[in-house]
Subunit: 561 residues, 2 copies
Amino acid sequence: MYSTMQDAPLLVSRLLRHGSTVHSDSQVVTWAGDGARRRSYGETGTRSAQLAHALRDELRIREGDRVATLMWNNAEHLEAYFAVPSMGAVLHTLNLRLPPGQLAWVVNHAADRVVLVDSTLLPLLAPLLPKLATVEHVVVVGEGDTAVLDGCRPAVHDYEALLAGRPTDFPWPEPAETTAAALCYTSGTTGDPKGVVYSHRSIYLHSLHVNTVEAMALSDADLALPVVPMFHVNAWGLPHAAFLGGVNLLMPDRFLQPGPLADMIEAERPSYAAAVPTIWQGLLSELAARPRDISSLRRVTIGGSACPPSLMREFEKRHGVTVEHAWGMTETSPLGSYAHPPRGLTGDDAWPYRVSQGRFPASVEPRLIGPDGTEQPWDGSSAGELEVRGPWIAAAYYGGADAAGPDRPTDRFSPDGWLRTGDVGTITHDGYLTITDRAKDVVKSGGEWISSVELENHLMAHPRVAEAAVVAVPDEVWGERPLAAVVLTPADGAPAAGSGSDHGDLRAFLADRVPRWQLPERWATIDEVPKTSVGKFDKKLLRARHAAGELEIVTLDRLDD
Amino acid sequence: MYSTMQDAPLLVSRLLRHGSTVHSDSQVVTWAGDGARRRSYGETGTRSAQLAHALRDELRIREGDRVATLMWNNAEHLEAYFAVPSMGAVLHTLNLRLPPGQLAWVVNHAADRVVLVDSTLLPLLAPLLPKLATVEHVVVVGEGDTAVLDGCRPAVHDYEALLAGRPTDFPWPEPAETTAAALCYTSGTTGDPKGVVYSHRSIYLHSLHVNTVEAMALSDADLALPVVPMFHVNAWGLPHAAFLGGVNLLMPDRFLQPGPLADMIEAERPSYAAAVPTIWQGLLSELAARPRDISSLRRVTIGGSACPPSLMREFEKRHGVTVEHAWGMTETSPLGSYAHPPRGLTGDDAWPYRVSQGRFPASVEPRLIGPDGTEQPWDGSSAGELEVRGPWIAAAYYGGADAAGPDRPTDRFSPDGWLRTGDVGTITHDGYLTITDRAKDVVKSGGEWISSVELENHLMAHPRVAEAAVVAVPDEVWGERPLAAVVLTPADGAPAAGSGSDHGDLRAFLADRVPRWQLPERWATIDEVPKTSVGKFDKKLLRARHAAGELEIVTLDRLDD
């Protein structure tokens, strides 16, 4: 039997047309440090059409061509967000925090033909231009000194001059909804960055989800502040969802430091904001030092990395803001799970759910694959690597060897096409995810998994331990066993020292808290845990030091079970 | 450039699996008159699997086969809602209010192989069975006397006996998302009923929309009461949206009269309900006569036909419930537009927006086609017939001549595939729809449209007019002109009478309120306006009476402009 429904594709141009007509009065407010620029969604619609005309008629951009942005969150970036995919081209958001070498690498890998760049970011782009083989045009947004571009190979254009006088409507094409719309590279810690190509369909569906009560639930009554950058997984989908629901946007531009952020919130009074934990930590300290009125904020979403529960509680307690925890990644568009508590639970009863990674929506199907390769039950304790499936989840990386499929085995995609997230965790019977580890940091001991993070957290709760890192080391009998590397605090004023008896005490301390088979036999006392450039434990380096014999290992006898 | 997103179809089985796992604790509560039956979504999931096994293994239902339901809103109907489409068959919800002849017609037209029937509805079904050529199985849900089925041709089964002992998991197939999932016939006032076939895709997308803040915005904190029947456009999509978001359902079964409804609301305390205006009108009167505690209700959606603003205000004033107005039809799944006021407007300022038909979501694109066939501007005054386009809008009727397409012109679908709603209205610059007329009741005078409803409303505001109906009659010069048929109240105790001077007075009254060219020249005084069986003005009959010369027409001279 056939369906009698219309064959209407899910396209970014529909979000644009909807937002700029039904919600023509909604606004994008761009902070300028001491005030704000305001533009309606109606104007954003006509300017997006003008940008599309300029790209097509002046810069000769065709369907499928890549147009890159090296921009902060602002009104012009929003115009590019809609104009580029709507005209059938692909928006490539460049992560301005990538090392210059990686930045050049992704532009070349994506074969970008145009780069739209905020004038304040020209010092970052200019030195790279000689290496950017495919870039034909640089479009400079905003006032500023363009002298650094003198003599560069690509043609240089002024954004406003390029748009001026062009038609304010555009005959948006109707490609298949699975056509590429936007491209974002993950800043992988190992190897080259990997490109994820979002389709019109995936962006549209993700936007619908963002505006449901299961996720951010924003409406045209909200002024939403995406502190999360637009070059970081489409600012968690907020710009697209904003046009779907007429949600007003407050764009921070380059003013992301705690002080300017606090000023902006006090002045423009957003009802909602989204950012990574470090932003909230910084804002909390800033407000403690110099109070500002942030009472307009009712809810914030916190994600990007696990958030310390203490930060969530503190923010709520001091400022009356409901903090919502979410999980996702570049490969998941990025939502992901979202931690609303179950119905009826409030206050302290709700916290265990609220600090979890939350529940998955219908469009993100999860499964946990255990150490033996089988699917684990949702019992809140059986751990496995999280794999996900759904219409806004990546099946492959762009142009890479990491494409999925039964005939193309890969680390990141299962043979039946699910994304391997690299996260290890548990799911409760009612769908709450708790991530305990990165899969590469789990100790695989005799067909069972030991959580390095759990051991570390217990060890760091001991008064003698300043820091502790647990890594897997090869073991002839068990495959892998945990090595505990601890930084000790001085005892009785004496210098810190490690000995078998120190380690034995720590093991006894652990024995009260984890199963015996998880207790490390191998111990090392170190001066400090090596860290990555963003301050995370560098376990790769620690494993390498152990492999090179640089750590002095104390081995305790294995305890009988 | 290709997208790297997964090819994961949007299927009803995903809603089922999601709702019965992540939201396994959510509940469907079925009212039984003096108490309720409760079943969790986890149980609904296992019972849906058992039903699918029974249908496949016992009744030999295959993908694409039609399975009909003649049922009230209850837990078993919900199981059929998910089992039948998830197994690849098509759910055909039978409207138990159709005249028996039409009911038999739609079963035969759909070629239903199975009918699931509530035992209380057997007296309706049994007499029809001899006429139902394709029905092989009747499955009786609930206790009751099945003697009326003795000797009938189809095999008779007991629902619970059919499910008992079957496997509680089912290998749901993965058809294309555009596959047929559910079938609903419109109870057209003219001609045969017309079938609309919803796809898995259209149901899934509509569900996502229902749970956004633009529409009902339900969550697992809600207990939602769909008074609107599940045989009426999928109960406005609430059962599917409930599984998407874990929304608890309160099912009224056959207890739809105001008294039992009030008892049910007091006992089970739903937070939300959805029904047509007459239900709310009845409940309002019931509660005035015999108060009950309905304080749990925070919001209700009212739709299906235009709601008198006085009813909305009264319900809010007396019971503190926010009444939300919505527009839709069988052909639109059914949402449609939804009347949330614009941001910042509350109280009296919000009412003009709240009593309108509301705003369209991104997935329902509207246009107004004016009398000259051109698209009308969104200026709040230019009227046109509303046409809509989107992924959950019908493109054709099932098996009918009304299929769309440039080579298949039809009354209900435009050559470029848009649905002609048959409603005439205006849209404001910010997207608020106001429906003023049915297209067939508009007077098409010299290339301009005259709203019959507007003239009627003005006339009925005159103290001498009890009722007034305005219909189009042929005119040699203008194509059509309005004929005003009025029922006069007695003046000064004398019997009601119509005369040229009465009509002249009424025209003068109108002349202060509408443009001169809209003023009727033709007038008739009648005893009462003929009505349809549901109490609406029967303008078709009035036009027929005029055509047959049965009305005494007074013709006034046309006024100069």
